[in-house]
């Protein structure tokens, strides 16, 4: 490579002997207090929330919009507080949450039975795949008219549609998760003598947990939407029920502050489930195990 010398511009070498003495700058300096506070996500988001609420209040007060159409934040908050104190709100919440829990649990149970069958036999696996591909695209709420025919106007109809909304989402996602478990892990499981149900619960379930958790979340989201929707439809027909019915009833009676109060609660419950329950499960499992994508 001697011809390189012709092409490159050769300069003399040099070396700096005493570095570090002329340094007049911090190598590492903490950021200012303001910068560090502004870097806290929660602080920024909370201020934005406050800003939004303030804008809402200011808009309803200043624009003179009809309160029946769009109540201010403060009157809505008052209505919320009042319904909580009178016990109306807790009662409605309990009605809804009870159905949700029963439906969710029953849905998981059905999904588990189908899945175990699917893991153990090929017929089961085919049946599950066929059923999910048919019923997953079917909105559970559209079964409500049939459910009312079969089970009458009562909680069992609501439980039925809730089960339907949970079952297929969970089954599909879990099945996909199971199939994605690596051959190595399967062989490890068999190596230690795990067969049948213990094999499913000790190897497949934890190994496919990332996918299962997605299924649980999607199932919850569908169930929550379906239940609120079903209570609305129900409200239109019968006239008793939980939060969804409250939204409907207060809307019919033009008590919009109470509609907003009920919507608040729907949001709060949604946030609780997603950010407290599921976040915690996630932190204790797949995050801890380093299994997130």
């Amino acid at each position: 490579m001697s011809e390189n010398a012709v092409e490159t511009y050769v300069r003399p070498e040099f070396e700096n002997k005493d570095l570090g003495k002329a340094l007049d700058v911090d190598v590492e300096r903490p950021l200012s207090v303001f910068e560090r506070i502004a870097n806290i996500n929660a602080v920024r988001k909370f201020s934005i929330l406050l800003g939004l609420l303030f804008a809402w209040e200011a808009y309803t007060r200043l624009s003179g919009v009809e309160p029946l159409l769009f109540p201010s934040f403060s009157t809505s908050a008052e209505a919320l507080w009042e319904t909580i104190l009178t016990g109306e709100m807790p009662a409605k919440i309990w009605v809804t949450v009870k159905i949700l829990l029963v439906g969710y649990a029953a849905g998981l149970g059905c999904a588990a039975v189908l899945l175990i069958w699917a893991v153990l036999t090929r017929v089961g696996s085919d049946v599950l795949a066929t059923l999910t591909s048919m019923f997953q695209p079917l909105p559970a709420i559209s079964l409500l008219p049939l459910a009312m025919l079969w089970f009458g106007l009562g909680a069992s109809s609501l439980v039925f549609v809730t089960i339907h909304s949970v079952l297929w989402a969970v089954a599909l996602s879990t099945h996909v998760g199971f199939m994605g478990v690596s051959e190595t892990l399967r062989m490890v499981g068999r190596n230690y003598g795990l067969r049948g149900i213990p094999y499913i619960f000790k190897i497949l379930v934890p190994a496919g947990f990332a996918s299962i958790l997605i299924g649980l979340k999607v199932g919850w989201a569908f169930a929550w939407r379906t239940l609120i929707g079903a209570e609305l439809v129900f409200g239109a027909l019968s006239g008793s029920g939980g939060l969804g019915w409250m939204v409907y009833e207060k809307g019919e009676n033009l008590e919009t502050t109470y509609v907003f109060a009920a919507l608040f609660m729907v949001i709060v419950i949604g946030l609780l489930v997603e950010n407290v329950i599921f976040r915690n499960v996630e932190l204790r499992t797949i995050s801890k195990w380093g299994m997130q994508r």
Binding site: N41, R44, K45, I48, L49, L52, L68, L69, F70, R122, D126, A129, T130, S133, M134, F135, Q136, P137, L138, P139, A140, I141, S142, L143, L144, P145, L146, L149, W150, V176, G180, S211, F222, W224, R225, T226, I228, G229, A230, L232, V233, G235, A236, L237, G244, V247, Y248, G251, E252, L254, T256, A262, L263, V266, I267, I269, G270, L271, E274, R293
Partner: protein
Amino acid sequence: MADQSVTSSGIYVRSEFVNEIGVAGTGEVERRLSVFERITNIDPLRKFTILIIMVVVWELYARIGNINELMFPTFSATGAALVDALVNASLLVNVWNSLKLLLSGYAIGISIAAVLVILAVGSRIGSDLLTTLTAMLNPLPAIALLPMAMLWFGLGPGAIIFTLLHSIIWPVALNTHSGFQSVSETLRMVGGNYGLRGLKYIFKILVPAAFPAILTGLRIGWAYAWRTLIAAELVFGGQVVDTSGQLGAEGSTSGGLGWIIFENQMENQTPYVFAGLFMVILVGITIENGFFRNIEERTVRKWGMQKS
């Protein structure tokens, strides 16, 4: 020490050997499976068989079990009702009514989500605003807004589209935004390196790089919207009964699929309810497997970007 003996360290030393391979016959190296085995290995075939078995079981159960047709019609009655509804009762018009609402809601919703996300890319406050809004509003089932929407926009497509928008915007915006945020620093720098700025940067780098997440958002948005639409049409059905109202009066061609299901159930036409449900499943499968699966094949799968 001799060849075959135990060494002082306790190792049993054996003589070496080399085999001549490929001279002697080695038996069957590869054999086709039997015809039966190969047929049962065809996935669609097995699933189709299962489908047929389920239909037969349904028919037998409904016939032999002497179930009241009002409660649980036979498969054949359902099929006949479906054909009848398609030919005589303009079921396709109802499907189209639903799809029309859904598509316009979907298009508007995606546009609004796109604007929100583009604003969020530009600044930290925009990004914070979007994440706060989505965190608040995504857990709120869109259908719960229907009563307010009916108050604001009256009984009609306006109220339904408003609820549809709400069901689409948040999941799409949420997934797109988080997809953008997880685009690798390297790809971002590559984009900047070739002089891409602003919208060009978003559409030529961020959108394709975050496409798996965007597609997930679009799918969730569609799923929520489809469910919300059916529910909204059911509620409208309830409204009609309550207030002898406005939708039903125009006849059954003006409503959507949800409305048809509701109406037939009210009139105890259970086979027609089943026929309506058939159509709902059919539309769902078409969009899921026909549309989204296709997009997935042509994009994230081809690019090797799909997860799991």
